[in-house]
């Protein structure tokens, strides 16, 4: 499947501990260009930590990380430059609250990429258009709904033309009725061929969009399978148990959407 495609993210034997708590106990992973990989698993099993290690917001204790050929874990790597290639979307949006939606999207274009203000503005409006928020360009974050904030955050990350997008539970802080609009944007992005690594509890999104699903538990990657296989016939007991819990919780929501694989 991915052999002919370029490898965008490679993680080798990643370890991270906080005090006595070992969060990542040797995680390895490879993501190819255009792949959508969804990470699921119980909370506290290192999913978000792994994501943050990829762009070094969290410094790993051991192991290697490469993103489109740059060895992030090399102390001499230009991390700021490398981060331009890695878009990140947070659970809590983290929009810059003193800037308008448009300024949120353009600030890194001008300050990091050195773009001229007019060019950045045009690009920013284009990105907001992509997430359906061109009419909110001049609104401040506090004037937007949670779903709108997250879409601006996605536009802000996409404006940098990243090679890969990391989503850290992008819908977990949203009211249920606002989740859909964010997932729609993410689905569109996946279809456009963006390489994505998504930590989420939205199983319907995982089924519909993911090329691979990674099940993490206890600091390890327990299973790495296509959605059809993981959801219908998980190899590990732990994944089976986790999915059955999720299943019974979501049963009231009706039948899950079919996978595309």
């Amino acid at each position: 499947m991915a052999d002919t495609k370029q490898e965008i993210v490679r993680i080798e034997n990643l370890h991270k501990r906080y005090g006595n708590l070992e969060v990542l106990k040797g995680v390895s992973l490879s993501i190819s260009e255009g792949e959508v990989v969804v990470v699921i698993g119980p909370s506290g099993t290192g999913k978000s930590t792994m994501l943050r290690c990829i762009n070094l917001l969290t410094r790993p204790d051991a192991g290697g990380i490469w993103v489109s050929g740059v060895e992030m874990t090399n102390p001499r790597a230009d991390i700021n430059r490398a981060r331009e290639n890695i878009g990140m979307v947070f659970q809590d949006f983290n929009l810059f609250s003193h800037l308008t939606a448009l300024q949120n999207v353009t600030i890194a274009l001008t300050k990091v990429k050195g773009m001229k203000p007019e060019a950045a503005r045009a690009k920013g409006l284009e990105e907001l258009e992509q997430v359906g928020l061109a009419d909110k360009a001049n609104a401040y974050p506090a004037q937007l709904s949670g779903g709108q904030k997250q879409r601006v955050a996605i536009a802000r990350a996409l404006a940098m033309d990243p090679k890969v997008m990391l989503f850290d539970e992008p819908t977990s802080a949203l009211d249920p009725e606002l989740i859909g609009e964010v997932l729609e944007v993410m689905k569109k992005l996946a279809k456009s061929g963006m390489t994505m690594l998504v930590v989420t509890h939205e199983m319907s999104f995982a089924r519909e969009v993911a090329d691979r699903i990674i099940f993490m538990d206890g600091g390890y990657i327990v299973e790495d399978s296509p959605p059809d296989q993981l959801f219908t016939n998980p190899k590990s007991d732990r994944a089976r148990l986790f999915l059955s819990k999720i299943e019974s919780y979501h049963r009231t929501e009706g039948p899950p959407m079919g996978g595309r694989g």
């Binding site: 810059f96 401040y140 004037q143």
Partner: protein, 225 residues
């Protein structure tokens, strides 16, 4: 009554001149306080090792000793080392260095009040730490600090009166001079107090205006009436 009015009329020019000196002292001291206080706050939060230790030492030493002692040390102590600084300048330096320590703590509080996620998002976009501080954290922190800073402005207008100890002719000193000639202590101090009240209130209004002007739409809570 008319005797009082004509007395007030006679000392008004002096008090006005003193007011101008008080404003001058306060303005420069607050400016020095900003110029030194903000870097101190940044050093205390983001600095490491010696830089951080120096910032903490500065803040705690200046907050830990009385302003009057610091003023007298500069005005009477430095000349013994051959450094003679005129009274007004001494007062501005003492008030400014002292204000810097307090302002540093105000800025530190405001910077820490900006959520960690802001710095994280900025770094994730490829900004350096310095860029993130400058473009993301400080613009928000400086808005958050305005209420505390407005406190500092009020304090400064009043505590600049310690300068009368080294014969700087600010508002309080002018009151004292007027009493020396008229022996009308009660009347004079009352009028001096009124002058300070007007000054402090004017400053508070100015700071409120600045707060309103830089308010982030939708963010700060409206005042509850």
């Amino acid at each position: 009554m008319s005797a009082l009015l004509s007395y007030y009329q006679s000392i008004l020019p002096k008090l006005w001149a003193g007011t101008l000196v008080t404003l001058q002292l306060s303005f420069w001291a607050l400016l020095i306080g900003f110029a030194i206080g903000l870097p101190m706050a940044l050093a205390r939060i983001y600095g490491r090792g010696l830089l951080k230790a120096l910032a903490i030492a500065y803040i705690e030493l200046l907050r830990g000793s009385p302003l009057v002692v610091q003023l007298l040390l500069i005005y009477y102590g430095l000349p013994q080392l051959g450094i003679v600084i005129p009274g007004t300048t001494s007062a501005i330096i003492a008030l400014g260095l002292n204000s810097a320590a307090y302002q540093a703590e105000y800025y530190r509080g405001a910077i820490l009040a900006v959520s960690e996620g802001q710095m994280m998002a900025a770094r994730a976009l490829g900004m350096s730490r310095l860029q993130a501080i400058r473009h993301i954290v400080l613009p928000q922190a400086l808005r958050l600090v305005l209420p505390a800073l407005s406190n500092e402005v009020a304090y400064m207008l009043k505590y600049s009166s310690v300068a009368f100890l080294i014969a700087v002719k600010e508002l309080t000193a002018m009151g004292k001079i007027a009493i020396g000639r008229s022996y009308k202590a009660r009347e004079t101090w009352l009028l001096v107090a009124v002058f300070y009240i007007i000054l402090v209130n004017g400053a508070a209004r100015l700071m409120q205006y600045v707060e309103r002007k830089f308010k982030i739409p939708g963010l700060q809570m409206e005042e509850v009436h």
